[in-house]
C-alpha cells in the first residue's frame, strides 16, 4: 500500500514540477530579490555593486512626497473609477434584465457583442483613441462641447480624464457580471411579490438588491485590486504621469524609478510597499473566497 502511495506522490510531484520550477524562478526569486534590494543602494547604470543601506530606502519613501503623492493618486483613481463603473454597470444590467421581454434574442446577442468590445480592445488601442478624443484643438470631445478644455494637461482634471477612459473600458466587466447575477435571481420571487401588489421600488429594494449585493461587493473588490495594481497603459499613453506628477500612479512610478532612472534599490522598495498594500487589502478577500 505504501508503495502505491509513494508512486502516487511521485506522479503528483512530477505533474507539478514544471509549474513549481517556473514559480520558484520567476515569481519567488523576484519577490525575494525585491526585498533584498530594498535594503540596498543599487544603480546598475553606474556600478553593479549593491551597497547595504539599511532602512534608508524606506525612510526616503516617507520623507519624499514622490511616493505619498503616487499612493494618493492611485487610491483616488481606484476608488473613483470603481464606484463609477459599478454604478453604471449595475443600472445597465438592471435595464437589460428588465427589458428582457421587449428585446428579442437577436438584440440581446447583438448588445453582448457590442458591450464586450471596450473590454477586449487592447489597452494601448483604447489609450491612443482616447488621447486623440481628448486633444484640445482637433479632438471631437471639445468640438462637441464647444469648449476648449485641457483634458490631459490641466493638473486638476487629468486624473479624472483617465478615470473616464477607464470607466469606458471596464464598465462592461460589471455589466456582464451583474447581468449574469441578476438573471439567476429566482423569477418566482418576483412573481410572488408582484401579485402581492409590491411596487417596482419594493421589488428592487427587497428582492433584487439583497440577492445581488454580495456579488456587487466581491466583484468590485476584485476590480479594485485590478485597478490598483494594473493601471499602466492608459496613464503612460495619455499623460505619462503628468502634468507634473498629477497622474503618476504607483505602477508607473515603479517602472520609471527602475527602468528610466535605474535606481533599482528605490524601485524595489516601492515594489515591496505596493505588494504589502495590496496584500493587506487582498488577503481578507481571498480568504473569504476560499
Amino acid at each position: 500500500m505504501s508503495r502505491i502511495r509513494n508512486r502516487e506522490r511521485r506522479i503528483g510531484i512530477f505533474l507539478i514540477l514544471p509549474c513549481l520550477l517556473f514559480v520558484l524562478a520567476f515569481v519567488m526569486y523576484p519577490l525575494f530579490r525585491n526585498i533584498f534590494l530594498s535594503f540596498h543602494a543599487y544603480n546598475p547604470l553606474h556600478s553593479l555593486e549593491t551597497i547595504f543601506v539599511g532602512l534608508d530606502n524606506y525612510r526616503w519613501l516617507t520623507t519624499e512626497p514622490l511616493f505619498l503623492n503616487s499612493l494618493y493618486v492611485t487610491v483616488l483613481f481606484t476608488v473613483v473609477s470603481v464606484i463609477f463603473e459599478m454604478f453604471i454597470g449595475f443600472f445597465v444590467a438592471l435595464f437589460l434584465v428588465r427589458m428582457k421581454d421587449i428585446l428579442s434574442k437577436w438584440v440581446s446577442r447583438f448588445l453582448t457583442s457590442i458591450f464586450i468590445i471596450p473590454w477586449v480592445v487592447p489597452g494601448i488601442s483604447a489609450a491612443v483613441a482616447w488621447r486623440m478624443l481628448y486633444h484640445p484643438t482637433f479632438g471631437p470631445i471639445n468640438a462637441m462641447l464647444g469648449k476648449n478644455i485641457m483634458w490631459l494637461s490641466n493638473s486638476s482634471l487629468s486624473l479624472f480624464s483617465i478615470v473616464i477612459a477607464d470607466v469606458w473600458k471596464c464598465t462592461p466587466f460589471f455589466i456582464f457580471i451583474f447581468f449574469a447575477g441578476m438573471m439567476s435571481v429566482p423569477i418566482e420571487q418576483f412573481e410572488a411579490a408582484r401579485t402581492d401588489g409590491a411596487s417596482m421600488w419594493h421589488e428592487f429594494r427587497y428582492i433584487m438588491l439583497p440577492s445581488i449585493l454580495p456579488l456587487m461587493l466581491v466583484a468590485s473588490a476584485f476590480r479594485a485590486i485590478d485597478a490598483f495594481t494594473k493601471i499602466f497603459d492608459l496613464v503612460y499613453v495619455l499623460t505619462g504621469g503628468g502634468p507634473g506628477r498629477a497622474t503618476e500612479v504607483l505602477p508607473l512610478l515603479i517602472y520609471k524609478t527602475g527602468l528610466k532612472y535605474f535606481r533599482f534599490g528605490t524601485a524595489s522598495t516601492l515594489a515591496v510597499v505596493a505588494i504589502l498594500i495590496s496584500l493587506v487589502f487582498g488577503m481578507g478577500l481571498l480568504k473569504r473566497q476560499r
Binding site: F22, Y29, L31, I102, G123, P140, I225, G258
Partner: protein, 275 residues
C-alpha cells in the same frame, strides 16, 4: 407582459445611446485612421472621412516596422498561451488529485500573484535577464507575461478538476490506465470549454502586453506592436494617423476572436471573480 409604444421607443432610444457611448472611441479611431493628414487636423473634426485613404495602414509596414512588431506580438501571445496552459493544466491536475507537503503553500502563492502589481516584477526580472543575457529577447517578455497567466490557469483548471466526477477516473484506473493517459484521453476531451477559456485569456494578456515589452525590448528585434504604437509619439511629433491605424490594427484580431468565441470571453470574465 404588455408594453406601450412610448415605452418601446424610450427603450430603443436608451439602447442607441448605450451603444453609441460604447462604440464612439472605436469608431473615432477607425475613422481617423482612414483620413488623410490634412483632415486629421481639421477643425471642426469630421466623424466620417471626406476622402478615404489606406495610407496610414501601409505606413505601419513601410515606416513603422509593423512587419516586425506584429509577428513579435503573435509569438509572445501564442507562446505564453502554450506554456501557461501546458504547465498550468498539469499542475492543476496534480494539485487536484494528489497531496504532498508544501502543496497548499504553493497554491496560496499562486493565488497571491493576482494581488501583485506586474510592475513589481520588472526590476528584479530585468536584472535577471541582463545576467542571463536575455535583455531585448522575446523570451524575456514571454516570461514576464506568463507570470501573470500561469496562476490564473492553475486556479481555474483546479476548480474544474475538483468538480470533475471521480467515478469515470476510477473506472479507467481499474482498467489499468495510467494517470497521464486518463488525463489525456478521458478528462481533456471533456475539459475543452474550460481549456478554451483559459487559453483565450492567456492569449489576450499576451497580445495586449505593454509593460513587459516596454521594459525588456530595446530594438525592433523584440519590440511588440503595443510598444510600436506608443512610440509613434516621438516627443517632438505625434503620428496621429499611423497611431490610430496601429490601434485599430491591433484591436482587429482580438475583437474578431471575441465575436466568434463570445461565450468563452464572457465566461472567463465572470470566472475570475465570481467563482
Amino acid at each position: 407582459m404588455k408594453f406601450s409604444i412610448t415605452k418601446k421607443i424610450l427603450v430603443i432610444i436608451l439602447i442607441i445611446i448605450l451603444v453609441g457611448m460604447t462604440l464612439f472611441p472605436v469608431i473615432w479611431m477607425v475613422s481617423s485612421s482612414l483620413k488623410v493628414d490634412e483632415e486629421i487636423y481639421k477643425i471642426p473634426p469630421t466623424w466620417i472621412p471626406e476622402k478615404f485613404t489606406l495610407d496610414h495602414y501601409s505606413d505601419l509596414f513601410s515606416r513603422f516596422h509593423f512587419g516586425r512588431y506584429l509577428p513579435n506580438s503573435a509569438i509572445i501571445a501564442i507562446s505564453t498561451t502554450i506554456i501557461s496552459v501546458m504547465l498550468g493544466l498539469l499542475a492543476a491536475y496534480g494539485f487536484s488529485r494528489y497531496s504532498f507537503p508544501g502543496c497548499g503553500a504553493l497554491l496560496f502563492v499562486m493565488l497571491l500573484v493576482r494581488l501583485f502589481t506586474p510592475a513589481a516584477f520588472v526590476v528584479p526580472l530585468y536584472d535577471m535577464m541582463r545576467w542571463l543575457g536575455l535583455v531585448d529577447t522575446l523570451l524575456a517578455i514571454m516570461i514576464g507575461v506568463t507570470i501573470m497567466n500561469l496562476p490564473f490557469v492553475v486556479w481555474i483548471m483546479k476548480v474544474f478538476f475538483d468538480d470533475f466526477p471521480k467515478e469515470l477516473e476510477d473506472a479507467a484506473k481499474l482498467d489499468g490506465m495510467s494517470s497521464l493517459r486518463i488525463l489525456a484521453s478521458i478528462i481533456l476531451p471533456l475539459a475543452t470549454p474550460a481549456v478554451a477559456t483559459v487559453a483565450l485569456f492567456s492569449f489576450n494578456v499576451g497580445w495586449n502586453d505593454f509593460l513587459f515589452s516596454l521594459s525588456f525590448s530595446q530594438t525592433i528585434r523584440s519590440m511588440t506592436a503595443t510598444v510600436g504604437i506608443a512610440s509613434m509619439d516621438t516627443g517632438y511629433k505625434v503620428y496621429w494617423g499611423a497611431m490610430m491605424a496601429g490601434g485599430a490594427f491591433l484591436s482587429m484580431p482580438i475583437v474578431i476572436i471575441a465575436f466568434v468565441l463570445q461565450k468563452y470571453f464572457v465566461k472567463g470574465l465572470t470566472m475570475g471573480s465570481s467563482r
